[in-house]
């Protein structure tokens, strides 16, 4: 009898313990700081990660991607697959089931109509929706019944998890945004800054480009969450200041994007108040080779177009030599520390999609010199710079104004000079470089230089769209107003054919195999893209903040409902 009572007591204690910890709002306030302040809390009108991170605490999609790149249901009951009948056999539709009893933070029920509306909102031709690609290929979204959403595609879609998946494409409340569709979208200031959502928090105060104040959502579906009663996101300053506020002064609990020099990282970690966390997605710092001639002597309109192949870089031996001369581990050590690792791939992850291409990781200056000799570039006049047919081996190397990139430029220039290549450096304001203004000569698409360095990534673990950038037809040119993602003007019919095959392939293993092959075609086989560093997102959190699971495949705030105060 005593034994039984004791056991019962133990069971009772075990049952109570989590309840005592897990009570909504028991842990007070959580304070986040971003180096760039939040401008708007509607992810469909923003493109900046800073805004979407804040929105992800308020608005939720049907499913999110967890840190391992696996889909996890959010508002949906389960992930629809072909096995459970959620995805049609011909891959032209996907049917999602909403969880029962979902409420918006204002207490009204969530219905399939809200999802239908969200699709209409983002695909309206005058709305300027920044996440329009999420709904690409979607022919219609229907509410089969109040809790069933059917998305129909105009063609078979091997990867149907784009619309309403991840923090980039959450569901908006129809009642709130109904009057804000199309051209009226930007004028709904209140709705855009304080959207009604289903997430763990709701916005209660917003000052543009400064602070977002949130409170726990009283109608959140898990009555025990979130552990914090309020949340504040303070923006502005720089990465160094944000990191300091968490790691050294302890004023904040979480700082996003604290990419600071490795020596500062070590010094701040030594203060013992917090820790850096890093998530590796697909962001790769790379050097892109221009396959066309950017010479200013060519007439405008023909300069840097496929009409004129590059006089030096068209030779694969030169491209390979330039890659061989680089020591990627030194670059990581100097620029990123824990926030980066050397890579030879354009698709560095998820692991199942990444090629085992590691040949570039060891620097080989002698090999590089030999290759240049072989290509006919010799130093005939003894000035230290190679030449061929009276032409100097001289290249212009451009990137954006950024301290790490300028360090990289200096290091790489040294290595290239050592193998007899003359290098001229150029740094461009990032607003101009990435601005895409067809009238400016300094955009990365126009590429009026021989090589350029920047970082790019795939916004989906499945890299189909991302790899599609290197198709011939995507080369920027005067005819396309210099728009297009194939900025190298790389053109290989075999690549285009293989990519076309990828879009038709449904078997996952086969898809991964093709993706690896495509990755190799632009990197080790042709050296058109010279990957340098696989960059992670480095963030910092205080030692008193628990439950943080940094995520490279979705928003870092994806599991903010599970964050708690370590006592």
């Amino acid at each position: 009898m005593k034994m039984r009572a004791a056991l019962l007591g133990a069971v009772a204690v075990m049952g109570l313990a989590p309840a005592a910890f897990a009570e909504r709002g028991a842990d007070g306030e959580v304070k986040l700081t971003f180096p760039q302040a939040v401008s708007i809390v509607n992810p469909y009108l923003s493109g900046g990660t800073k805004d979407i991170l804040a929105a992800a605490m308020v608005l939720e999609p049907l499913a999110v991607v967890d840190p391992n790149g696996v889909l996890v249901p959010r508002l949906a009951v389960e992930i629809p697959t072909m096995e459970n009948g959620g995805v049609s056999a011909d891959m032209t539709s996907i049917t999602w089931k909403l969880q029962p009893g979902l409420l918006w933070s204002d207490g009204t029920p969530v219905t399939a109509d809200d999802a239908v509306f969200t699709w209409q909102y983002c695909t309206h031709p005058e709305g300027g929706c920044s996440q329009a690609t999420k709904y690409e290929g979607v022919a219609s979204v229907e509410a089969v019944d109040p809790s069933t959403i059917k998305v129909t595609f105009s063609a078979p879609k091997p990867n149907p998890y784009t619309a309403f998946v991840s923090g980039l494409s959450p569901i908006l409340q129809k009642a709130q945004f109904e009057a804000c569709i199309g051209a009226a979208a930007p004028t709904c200031t209140d709705a855009n800054n304080m959207p009604i959502g289903t997430g763990p928090f709701k916005v209660v105060g917003f000052t543009v480009n400064d602070t977002v104040s949130m409170e726990a959502n009283p109608n959140y579906r898990d009555p025990a969450k979130p552990a914090f009663a309020t949340a504040v996101i303070k923006g502005g300053g720089d990465a160094e200041g944000s990191a300091r506020a968490v790691m050294e002064t302890g004023e904040f609990d979480y700082a996003w994007n604290t990419q600071i020099p490795p020596d500062s990282q070590a010094a701040m970690a030594a203060a013992g108040k917090g820790q850096f966390v890093v998530a590796f997605g697909t962001l790769v710092e790379r050097i892109e080779m221009n396959m066309t001639d950017p010479s200013p002597e060519l007439p405008e309109g023909e300069r840097a177009t496929v009409k004129h192949p590059h006089p030096i870089l068209s030779d694969i031996k030169v491209r390979t030599a330039l890659s061989k001369a680089i020591d990627r581990s030194i670059l990581v050590e100097v620029g990123y520390g824990a926030g980066g690792k050397p890579t030879c791939n354009v698709i560095p992850g998820p692991e199942a999609w990444a090629s085992d291409n590691t040949a570039c990781l060891t620097q080989d200056l002698e090999g590089a010199k030999a290759l240049l000799e072989e290509a006919g570039w010799t130093d005939s006049d003894g000035d230290g710079i190679r030449d061929k047919d009276g032409k100097k081996l001289s290249i212009l190397y451009q990137t954006t104004v950024n301290p790490i990139r300028q360090d990289f430029q200096a290091l790489i220039k040294d290595w290239w000079t050592e193998i007899g290549v003359e290098v001229e450096l150029k740094a461009i304001d990032p607003g101009v470089f990435f601005g895409g203004d067809p009238g400016s000569p300094d955009t990365f698409q126009k590429f009026y230089a021989d090589v350029e360095m920047y970082a790019n990534n795939s916004d989906n673990p499945d890299p189909e769209t991302y790899l599609g950038q290197y198709q011939c037809k995507n080369a920027p040119s005067p005819e396309t107003q210099w728009q297009g993602e194939n900025i190298n003007r790389f053109c290989d019919p075999a690549y285009d054919a293989l990519h076309a095959e990828l879009t038709q392939t449904t078997d996952l293993a086969k898809r991964q195999e093709i993706a690896k092959k495509l990755n190799d075609m632009v990197t080790k086989d042709s050296m058109v893209v010279v990957p340098l560093v696989h960059r992670g997102t480095l963030s910092a959190h205080s030692n008193t903040l628990g439950g943080v699971q940094i995520n490279a495949w979705d928003m870092e705030t994806w599991n903010v409902a599970d964050w708690f105060r370590v006592k």
């Binding site: 920044s130 480009n209 101009v432 795939s458 991302y466 728009q483």
Partner: protein, 335 residues
């Protein structure tokens, strides 16, 4: 004096119109695009749609005329509607920021108080430190105090705020832990404790800016005092047997203040302009931080409106300085 003021005010209208056009063209011709912060994963077609939704693809003169109309008609009408409940601005489009899609004047309204409190206090503190230093330095020229004051001014002049600010953060926030490094803009001052908290969070930015302001003004004060010290009327005053105190503080100081007051008045627009670097460093959400943020994001409506407001303030305070000059110095008359 009145005709002078009126003439100057009328003359200001075409001046400001020309300034607004020049600013608009400069801002428009400057490289950069509102799409530069959008990740590269967003394809060009979507970017094009976003630019169209912003209205950024319209020809420059159309956008300029629209902006003029919004600035001089829609925004004042909106203000009057807010006061008297009229409906003049109904259905009219206010000036919207491209970056946040919020009305530019709402953002300015949110930010002006912070800027006035922090930058204004720093300016005041700067003046209060600078005047005594300037006066005493001049009175005891080449003394140890004067040398010290010169050193202080040199440091204040030559050390940029991004350096002194970071130094103060490391000393007072990281090592000593006295003050916070990030300004909490949500703090409501309603009791003694929150007031102290406000003082604490203002300490570092005010210190940083105060140093820079005090340096400049103390030099003006000193040189103006030195000019007057050797004047005949000072010798006369001394010969009459007045105390040094009366001579320096009544006769010399009053006359020396005339140019200093002008300098101080001309510096007031810069309070409204905020302090770009300091505000950014300490996370004060003032006008300066708004301007630099808007420039980075190529948020043309925001940059244009702010730059134009600064131009108005500068023209206005130039006029005020001229009038003050006339009031303080009876020898100067404009009519």
């Amino acid at each position: 004096m009145l005709t002078f003021t009126l003439r100057r005010l009328l003359l200001a209208i075409p001046t400001l119109l020309v300034i607004s056009l020049v600013i608009f063209l400069l801002v428009d011709l400057a490289p950069g695009s509102p799409m530069s912060e959008i990740p590269l994963t967003v394809p060009p077609e979507v970017r094009q749609k976003m630019i169209e939704a912003l209205g950024a693809d319209q020809p420059v003169f159309v956008r300029y005329l629209l902006w003029l109309r919004q600035f001089f008609w829609v925004e004042p009408a909106y203000l009057i509607d807010g006061w008297f409940g009229t409906t003049w601005s109904e259905g009219e489009q206010r000036i919207l920021s491209w970056q946040s899609r919020s009305p530019v004047f709402t953002i300015i309204g949110q930010r002006i108080p912070q800027t006035l409190i922090v930058i204004g206090t720093a300016y005041l503190v700067g003046i209060l430190i600078a005047l005594p230093i300037g006066i005493y330095s001049a009175y005891r020229q080449y003394s140890l105090f004067d040398q010290g004051g010169t050193l202080f001014a040199m440091i204040g002049f030559s050390v940029p705020t991004f350096f002194s600010g970071t130094l103060f953060i490391i000393i007072f926030a990281v090592w000593l832990g006295w003050f916070p490094t990030k300004y909490d803009t949500q703090l409501v001052v309603n009791d003694w404790n929150s007031f102290l908290e406000q003082m604490r969070q203002m300490a570092l930015p005010v210190m940083t800016l105060g140093l820079a302001n005090a340096a400049a003004i103390s030099r003006y004060m000193r040189s103006s005092m030195l000019d007057n010290m050797t004047m005949d009327y000072v010798r006369t005053a001394r010969a009459k047997g007045m105390t040094e105190r009366t001579v320096v503080l009544k006769h010399v100081l009053r006359n020396s203040l005339i140019p200093v007051v002008t300098v101080i008045a001309l510096g007031i627009p810069s309070i409204f302009g905020g302090a770009i670097i300091t505000e950014n460093l300490f996370g004060v959400n003032g006008i300066g931080a708004a301007l630099i943020g808007a420039i980075h994001a190529s948020d043309l409506p925001m940059v244009q409106t702010l730059a134009f407001i600064f131009a108005v303030l500068i023209v206005l305070f130039n006029l005020i300085a001229d009038i003050l000059y006339g009031l303080l110095d009876p020898r100067i008359r404009y009519d």
